[in-house]
């Protein structure tokens, strides 16, 4: 109970901190970095959600692209609001995720890896090849900023400054994380975990595992699409080159290093590694070795913290307890 209360306090303090951060961060670039942390958290959490069913999707970056393009084109071609674009991005993503999920999710292991990798590449090739409407390899530029939120008679929230995007990304992240948390901790999450651990057993007790896998896939991909839509309007630019295999690998590393088995794992992984990459880029010598450093960190985490960095406090507590018991002369069994 105390542990839970302690966790809640920690989370509330962290929330308070990120709510007031722009007030004392005078450097606009640092606000931009934190915004990217929020976006990466959304994508990584969506990926982790799919992984709770035991499947590692290698087309997740493609769904970030789908969301971005869908939202951008809704605004640029149809002249609609970016909020309509966001909804449209989610609808399009759900349709594609369900349609292809019904095929892809029948596969497992290596076959699923190959199929999702191929699917991701096909999506990007479609964006690259068709100059109309996707802009081809150059992508789309001059994507309008998010439409202002008008509260009649009160105020209007304009999006243009780094601070406004920071709070927008934060709000989107909090809403999506709340939804993901409720799913993860509820009946749905329990079924997903059950499918991961023993899918045949789950099926034998009447659970339609295909349905739940498709739901997980659709929800996870929708989160990626929302992140993609945000990015497109934030950067005012989107091109297929930004969603390749190595971008996907980054998302996977966030989840693996943070911890795929805990809800906060990808949050920690995305935050730490995004900030760490920025720290490395401060020093020209270290920046060159970023990929190597990431690789080493990944190997060390897999070897010594297979449950991710999120398990570190528990591990430290366990070692401390063991040490304490040994020093009291108790035999550790």
């Amino acid at each position: 109970m105390n542990n839970k209360r302690g966790q809640i306090i920690l989370i509330l303090l962290a929330l308070l901190f990120i709510l007031v951060a722009p007030s004392f961060l005078r450097n606009q670039y640092h606000i931009h970095i934190l915004t990217m942390v929020f976006v990466n958290i959304i994508v990584a959490s969506g990926l982790r959600l799919i992984m709770t069913t035991g499947l590692v999707s290698f087309c997740h970056a493609a769904f970030v692209a789908i969301g971005g393009y869908a939202s951008a084109l809704t605004v640029m071609r149809l002249g609609l609001s970016s909020w309509v674009g966001l909804v449209f991005a989610v609808i399009v993503t759900v349709i594609i995720a369900v349609a292809f999920g019904l095929i892809l999710l029948r596969l497992k292991g290596t076959y699923f890896f190959i199929a999702t990798t191929a699917f991701g590449e096909i999506i990007l090739l479609i964006f690259t090849r068709w100059a109309d409407p996707f802009g081809g390899a150059a992508g789309l530029t001059n994507i309008p900023l998010p439409t202002a939120i008008m509260i009649p008679g009160l105020f209007a929230i304009q999006f243009g400054s780094k601070v406004s995007f920071y709070y927008l990304a934060l709000a989107i992240m909090l809403i999506l994380m709340l939804i993901a948390y409720r799913l993860d901790k509820g009946r749905m999450g329990a079924i997903w975990t059950g499918i991961h651990q023993a899918d045949l057993l789950a099926q034998s007790i009447g659970i339609n595992i295909m349905l739940y896998k498709v739901i997980a896939f659709a929800v996870g991909c929708s989160m990626a699409a929302v992140a993609g839509a945000f990015q497109a309007h934030y950067y005012s630019h989107i091109n297929p080159g930004g969603f390749g295999f190595f971008t996907l690998v980054n998302y996977l590393i966030y989840v693996m290093i943070g911890g795929s088995q805990r809800f906060m794992g990808p949050v920690l992984g995305a935050a730490l590694l995004t900030l760490f990459a920025e720290f490395l880029s401060l020093y020209e010598t270290l920046a060159i070795y970023q990929t190597i450093v990431f690789g080493i960190v990944l190997i060390l985490v897999i070897l010594f913290l297979p449950q991710g960095i999120i398990s570190l406090p528990g591990k430290i507590s366990f070692w401390y307890q063991q040490g304490h018991e040994k020093s009291n002369g108790w035999r550790v069994i």
């Binding site: 670039y29 390899a137 950067y235 091109n239 080159g241 880029s281």
Partner: protein, 401 residues
Amino acid sequence: MEGDMKRMLRITSISVVLLANLLTLISADLSLAKEAEFVKVGVLMPLSGGGAPWGIGVLRGVELMADKINAEGGIKVGDKKYQVSLIKSDTKSDFNVSLAQANKMIFSDDIKYIIGPILSGEALSAQTVTERNKVIMMALCGTPKFFGVDKPYSFKLNLVDPVSVAGFFVYLSKHLQGVKKIALVGPNNESGWGSAEVARELAKRAGIEIVAEDFLQPGVTDYFPMLGKMIPKNPDAIFILATPAGQVAMVLQQGRQLGYKKIMVSTTYADPQIILEKAGEAAEGYIFQSMDFEGPWSTQGHRELRKNYLEKYKETFNTNSGAGYPMLYVLKLAIEKAGTFDSTAVAKAMENLEGEMPYGHFTMGGLKTYGAKRQILYPLIFSQIRDRQSVVLDSVMPAIP
């Protein structure tokens, strides 16, 4: 239990306060003294990944010009001279990183002039933030989409595709009138597509038929399937667009192995030494955009660059440095003409610039093609490999109206 709770709360509060202070420190303006004596110029290049051979070379050229300008006193604005301080960033040949680094240069380093990037996708993604923040970007990318009347701060101060494509068509019209059918090969990215668009337009104007075109993923090494379909259509010349030297060598080798004996042209500058090393005999007859750094076609600027490069870096001369060398000099001319560091004024000055730079006389062009004069124009050299030597064929002025 309560004690534990209080202790945890205390530790957490202290940690949050410490972290807040740390962040405040990081974001505080810690810049040393007044930077009035320096003008910062960002260099945004791929120093790792697929674009690294170009990026490292270009960076060397920019560094050498910075040394030269600083040795001569710096950039003169008003009564003062300002030393050039280069802020370098690696784009890792990645569009997302390019955009992030552009953000960093603008918002963290307060930079108003950026040289780079090289890859078209990187340039287009960084451009969204440079244009919005009135930062002059001097890219080396191939895409014509980089230009526009609505992009007043975007310039190209070197001769890459598609300008070099235009230059080759001038050469073609002068020396290779027999070429009536061509094939296009390029990377499946904006550089390749952009160059192909220009090639199609110029071919149409010249009455040349394009019998085949194909675009492969960057990094692909097997060109046999593509060449196998292309060669039977009997093109008089195969144009290799926006492709780095290593892959050009593979196209040459595989094309010759399939029995193609006619002209193969690279419109992007590709180091002939790399071509010869990798393609060997297959490089014979290959025509390419080149620079002469020590021969009869070289200028004082070319020779100086080569000499200083070998002295400073003590490594094999990277000819890609030739692309970067004059860029900072042209920026210097624009700033001195504008008489201010204000980027809007400098951009205006740069648009109408004409004069002498290390490689000779230059003008700014592109008014009819791109709607604004943002592309530097100076004589292009085309060379050919003959008996394992690079022989200069001619110098032409690219025709971008």
